[in-house]
């Protein structure tokens, strides 16, 4: 009969070894599978490159704005920091985390969506940030949202508590030498898009409108972004990315409330709002991957439209009343 205390020590030790080995494998798989995402996040959260234009938003930014097109038309150095599923909290967090290392960009182009203001879960994919806890903003945000963070390197296996089943499934794919680039092999400065895929008829099927529930605290994060831009002299521009025949906003029963909220903010702060849901390209299915996302052809077409508009704005000293004339 082994003393119960020894039994406890033995089983804890064995479990520790299994967990460390298991988490090591899962980490390795995730790194392989999401190699490109890690590269983008490293650029945003760790590097110090100076960019003139920073694009923030969800997948509708990530898949829609090609910095190559923008830079060639506007003669800028821009970066697309759009993140899948990101909402207003994550935009605010990414901006703060970006500013930890990078100099402030001249322009911040923020794509606001209806779901941006709904915060059932503040960070959409917390696990993607867990290896970036050297950035104090990321560490604090993860910790504030109940995720273990900031542990010493020897306890890095505790990262496992942040991974969900999707991450673990991705890890298995990664261990099988698969990569995440499922809808594109074209990627440039944070932009990722599909070359071939077009909108399918099923995407246009009618949906019962769902209520996104604008979270009460979401406006605070928007105001925080505006305040940061004001303090650092960043020109702020809001956009609404193209969608196929306005079908996306019809999915949400509180779309009007969100647009009213955006228009109120825009008016109060003299922020240019580039609402691109009624462009002629929005009725061409060959430019869309699905109702909400442009494909590569659509993204390039839209980027040209956006860049042309941005160039006009860059020459207009009248925007963002907090900017002194001639500051930029």
């Amino acid at each position: 009969m082994i003393n119960p205390i020894y039994r406890i020590l033995i089983f804890v030790t064995i479990a520790l070894v299994i967990c460390m080995s298991g988490s090591g494998l899962i980490d390795k798989g995730i790194h392989t599978y999401h190699e490109q995402r890690i590269e983008w996040l490293t650029e945003i959260l760790e590097k110090k490159t100076a960019y003139d234009v920073l694009f923030l938003g969800s997948s509708r930014t990530h898949n829609a704005i090609n910095p190559h097109v923008i830079d060639s038309i506007c003669s800028t150095n821009s970066y697309n920091a759009g993140m899948n599923g990101a909402n207003i909290f994550e935009f605010s967090m990414l901006l703060d985390a970006y500013l930890e290392n990078h100099p402030p960009p001249a322009y911040l182009v923020l794509t606001l969506d209806v779901p941006s203001f709904s915060l059932p879960q503040k960070i959409f994919t917390p696990s993607q940030y867990i290896i970036f806890t050297d950035n104090p903003v990321i560490r604090r945000s993860l910790s504030d949202n109940g995720y273990l963070s900031g542990f010493p390197e020897s306890f890095s296996f505790l990262r496992m508590t942040c991974y969900d089943d999707k991450d673990k499934q991705d890890a298995i794919e990664g261990l099988n030498h698969q990569r995440h680039l499922y809808f594109s092999w074209y990627s440039y400065k944070g932009f990722l898009s599909d070359t071939l895929q077009v909108s399918s008829p099923a995407d246009s099927a009618e949906h019962t409108p769902i209520l996104m529930n604008v979270s009460s605290g979401s406006l605070d994060y928007l105001h925080h972004i505006i305040k940061t831009c004001r303090e650092l002299g960043i020109r702020l521009i809001f956009t609404y990315a193209p969608e196929y025949k306005s079908l996306r906003q019809l999915r949400y029963s509180d779309s009007k409330q969100v647009f009213r909220l955006i228009y109120d903010t825009v008016r109060a702060n003299n922020i240019p709002y580039l609402r691109h849901d009624s462009l002629s390209i929005c009725t061409d299915p060959s430019l869309f991957r699905d109702v909400s996302h442009l494909n590569r052809k659509g993204a390039d077409t839209y980027s040209i439209i956006l860049a042309t508009k941005l160039r006009e704005i860059m020459n207009d000293s009248n925007i963002n009343h907090w900017l002194r004339p001639g500051l930029r």
């Binding site: 009969m1 119960p4 205390i5 089983f11 479990a15 298991g22 508590t161």
Partner: protein, 480 residues
């Protein structure tokens, strides 16, 4: 404080360690303070409600013991009931009552102003500790229990942190004397307690919280899914609620065991029950016996004729449903179980006893019981009666305009349930059912098999860590 929160990882070892470091005479105070901290981590002000219940029952019990006048003793007992049930009525049932009155008035088209709601937040585990407190005064009234004169120890009986918010609902004869016993540190108790806690965490974090993703997607919009999706969700909820609640009980019993306390068995492999009576002898045992001893027997049990027996069963199950929540869905759930029970009694009455094909009969009985219980969870889980009926209609008419989805790959729903999730949940459930079939509920068998014990605990701890769902999720039974 949730058992599955990082705070508890610190709270539990610190409280247990200090418990053994302190001399016996201070231990009650330490446990009482720890229980207050535990309870106040939810809504601090609600400790006052608990304090009021404790004072009422403590005083009532002392006065009951002191008095020889039967009528006065009965009045004191009723006063204690009014105190406990009054708190329940205000915090749990008042808005439900008002809602029904308002609906009734509206249906009669009486032009009166609607009665106002209180909109109070329900104190965590209120039904559990009021029932535990009531069992104390009842037992003192019946003369089965001496009143506890030490106010602190009585308060600890109501507030003992492992079982404070979700049971097991302990009887005073079992728990109160344990606070007076000197518990010396026992490495065997520690091992047994930790083992049970691990098992509870496994059921909660690996199975229940994972299945909850699927169940929540479906039950948030029952009208929008294929009938097979509804059946899948129902099966998952059956497993989820068992793993969630029995997992909590295992953690509670295990945490108490590490300090030398022995709490009641609350679940005894209920899904292996071969009939509905057996199910209720195995499911939420502490509540089922509470209703049996204090309501069913008080109503006359089976001693007042068949018609009265049937009525008593219906009353007890309806009340048991209402205990769970202020919603007609819970009452419907209770009534459905009473119907099962009555059908079972009728079959029993007309069935010829035969020992032939016993194994097959047991298997068939197990499948029928599990199916019936699973069907009843529709009312337990659905938001309202309309949703419950819609779900039943869709399952039985097999009509829906939506395609079947075995899994949900769209992470936008915030409740991703991919094929990997299904595999993990499936394997873990089979493992859980096999382990509970092989080992007794307290796993005492493993004490004599160190190699198997070490292997079992290592695997379970690793599985919790590698496949646990560590997002903040509450226990289903906390709401009661």
């Amino acid at each position: 404080m949730l058992f599955n929160s990082p705070g508890f990882l610190l709270f539990f070892p610190v409280v247990t360690l200090i418990y053994f470091l302190l001399p016996h005479r201070y231990r009650w105070l330490h446990l009482l303070l720890a229980s207050c901290v535990f309870y106040m981590s939810f809504v601090p002000a609600y400790i006052l409600i608990l304090a009021a219940i404790i004072v009422i029952d403590y005083t009532a019990a002392l006065l009951i013991k002191k008095s020889v006048d039967i009528r006065y003793r009965r009045r004191l007992l009723y006063a204690s009931f009014v105190g406990n049930i009054g708190v329940l009525a205000v915090f749990k049932y008042f808005d439900f009552f008002i809602q029904n009155i308002n609906s009734f008035l509206s249906s009669l088209h009486i032009p009166v102003q609607h009665l106002p709601y209180l909109h109070l937040i329900l104190p965590i585990g209120l039904s559990f500790h009021t029932f535990q407190a009531m069992s104390y005064t009842i037992e003192v009234y019946k003369g089965n229990q001496e009143p506890e004169r030490h106010f602190g120890i009585y308060a600890l009986y109501v507030m003992f942190y492992p079982q404070l918010v979700a049971g097991p609902i302990e009887r005073p004869q079992r728990l109160l004397p344990q606070f007076r016993v000197v518990h010396h540190f026992s490495s065997l108790n520690l091992l047994e307690g930790l083992r049970l806690m691990l098992w509870g965490f496994f059921k909660k974090l690996v199975i229940a919280d994972r299945l909850a993703f699927y169940v929540n997607i479906i039950f948030s919009n029952v009208g929008h899914y294929h009938y097979l999706n509804l059946l899948e969700a129902l099966l998952f909820f059956s497993i989820q609620i068992y793993c969630d609640f029995s997992g909590y009980s295992d953690i509670a019993v295990g945490a108490a065991r590490t300090m030398g306390f022995s709490l009641s068995l609350n679940f005894n492999r209920p899904y292996y029950a071969t009939n509905i009576r057996e199910f209720w002898q195995r499911w939420h045992i502490s509540l089922a016996t509470w209703f049996r001893d204090y309501i069913y027997f008080s109503l006359g049990g089976n001693k007042k004729g068949t018609a009265r027996l049937y009525m008593n069963i219906v009353i007890v199950f309806a009340l048991s449903g209402l205990w769970h929540g202020a919603n007609w869905t819970f009452v419907a759930w209770g009534l459905l179980h009473s119907a099962y029970f009555l059908i079972y009694l009728l079959i029993l009455r007309h069935k010829k006893q035969s020992a032939r094909f016993n194994s097959l009969k047991n298997l068939v009985g197990m499948i029928i019981t599990f199916s019936a219980v699973t069907l009843s969870w529709i009312f337990f889980r659905a938001e309202n009666i309309d949703d419950s009926l819609l779900l039943i209609r869709q399952i039985f008419t097999r009509y829906s305009g939506f395609p079947f989805q075995l899994v949900f790959n769209d992470k936008i729903t915030m409740s991703y349930f991919g094929i990997g999730t299904l595999w993990i949940a499936g394997i873990a459930t089979v493992l859980m059912l096999a382990v509970e079939r092989i080992f007794p509920p307290d796993f005492s068998m493993l004490n004599k098999k160190p190699a198997l014990d070490i292997a079992f605990c290592s695997v379970i701890l690793s599985l919790i860590f590698l496949f646990g769902v560590f997002h903040k999720t509450s226990f289903i039974y906390f709401q009661f």
